[in-house]
Amino acid sequence: MLSAERVSKSYKAGRRHVLLDTDFSLDRGEFCAVMGESGSGKSTLLAIIAGILKPDRGVVRLDDQDLYALPDHEMARIHQKKIGYVPQSNILLKNYTVLENLILPFLSAKDQNEEALKEEAVALLEKLGVSDLADRYPYELSGGEQKRVSLGRALLMDPEIVIADEPTTGLDSSTGRIILSCLAEQAASGKSVLVATHDDHVKEYAGRVLDITKI
């Protein structure tokens, strides 16, 4: 469903090669974890596959479409409806409540109904165990709570693919388990899940675990 063919990426004007002719594929309903040391290129690979970092070379295909050859509005539609991305850092809009953080990025779409979105957002927050924080502002939340909100935002539009970069880093083990369980549930319902992590607990949930150095 989603594949990367011979992708390469370097930083610092080519002086630091992070990925070199890397191949990767993700099937429907699969939960795959990519593990490795810091700086080994896990996050870079995920970002390239998620369509938010153009590779220096290589092709990323989503359902046989070259992702980076698509026009901007098509790419935006894919990010809205098909790929849910959870960044490593908890980037939340500080002047908006938790509920608003979930729904705001999607309100501009013409076919979106604000009330329906709100209902879905509240349901998601409940699932993630943070529904009582709906009217709070990001600065009032702990790191774990912010991560759960970030995950909720990625899942709100029910994407086919969920990509999460280090979703449990810096969290206590119980919060980490909540996150991983939620992701496993997504995979169980037929979604594709790709995670970059160095948390060994992911082995209990992922169907496939890869070492980045061996891809």
């Binding site: 970092l53 901007d72 539609r77 705001l104």
Partner: protein
Amino acid sequence: MGSRRVKNLIRNIRSHAFYNACLLVTISILSVILFAGIVVSRSLYKGMDNMQKRLGADIMLVPKGAKEKAENMLLEGSRSTFYFDASIYEKVAAVDGISEITSQCFLKSLSADCCSSEVEIVFFDPQSDFVVAPWIETEYRKDLSGNQVVVGNSISSEDGKIKLFGQEYPVVSKMAKTGTALDSSVYFTSEAMGEILENAEEKGSFLTEDQKNGGILSSIFINLKAGEKSEKVVESVHQVIGDIFDVVYPKQLHASLSGSLTKITGIVNIISFVLGGLLVLILLIINSILMNQRKQEVALFRVLGRTKRDLIRMLVSEMGLISISGAVIGCLLSAVIVIPFGAFIGRSLNMPYLGPGLAATMVSFALIVLGVFLIVFLASIFFIVHISSVDPYLAMRREE
């Protein structure tokens, strides 16, 4: 724009309150300077245009020793009196090279309306006058008769009358403001001179025998025939009436005033330009800092499925709101100061000054708001397009 969109715009602006406040202040100051510069320049030029009406003669003959008084009276509207014997008029009129000639007589008065202020009374011959008569005719087309008076814009009259030397005179017209000495005088035909001089004497004004007999005039205005040299005509007048007069060249006065005006507006423009340039530089700096701060947020929106166009529109809308608000605030602030203080500015610069009308002010306002918006737009569009186009992942990582 929906109210939710506007609310979100404002919330986005408030989330970077400090930098946006700096932008707002910078834009307001820029607008203050631009508005003040435009209004002051325009008002000076308008006053200058009107000044020409008062300086519409090639030569002005005044009594010997009265040159400075006459120039001050023309330029600043200071009240003065100086007199010739009226008999010289016919002698001067006979001199070769003159195409038009007229005389005026000036008198100072204490106007009861104005308490301690003085009013300059100008008596003119409506048949021959080419200096003030054409100007009066632009607003009052009928013949001025007997004791009817036309007043300049700064003169107050109650119930359509003005009191001079204890006597009331009907005001038939109050002229539009010119921003020049014309505004602070009252105008009678020479027919009324006799009666008014009598009243002046009754009220204690010191008059000589000649003045009492009405055989006086204050100045003779001359327009030359085409090709005639003013020095030649002056020399001829000398020969006819002797060395009893000084010569004022009104058009030269106007030229030197125009020169001063050019210098003043030049300075105003340079200051506006330099300050404006500095402020644009500050704008660029603040913009680049602000856009850097927004990079992560913009990247997040891209990751969540907003198009570049959407984001550019959002950022341009925010910039637009700030720039228009700043421009409006700046222009209003400037208007509140520059427009009421108009007369004071003119006096301080020693220049004729006619403030803009409402329509002209609104046009300047609109142009500045539009201009400032364009400046801010140009100063920010590069940054906006850049942060909307950077790989979202890199933008998010840079902030970590």
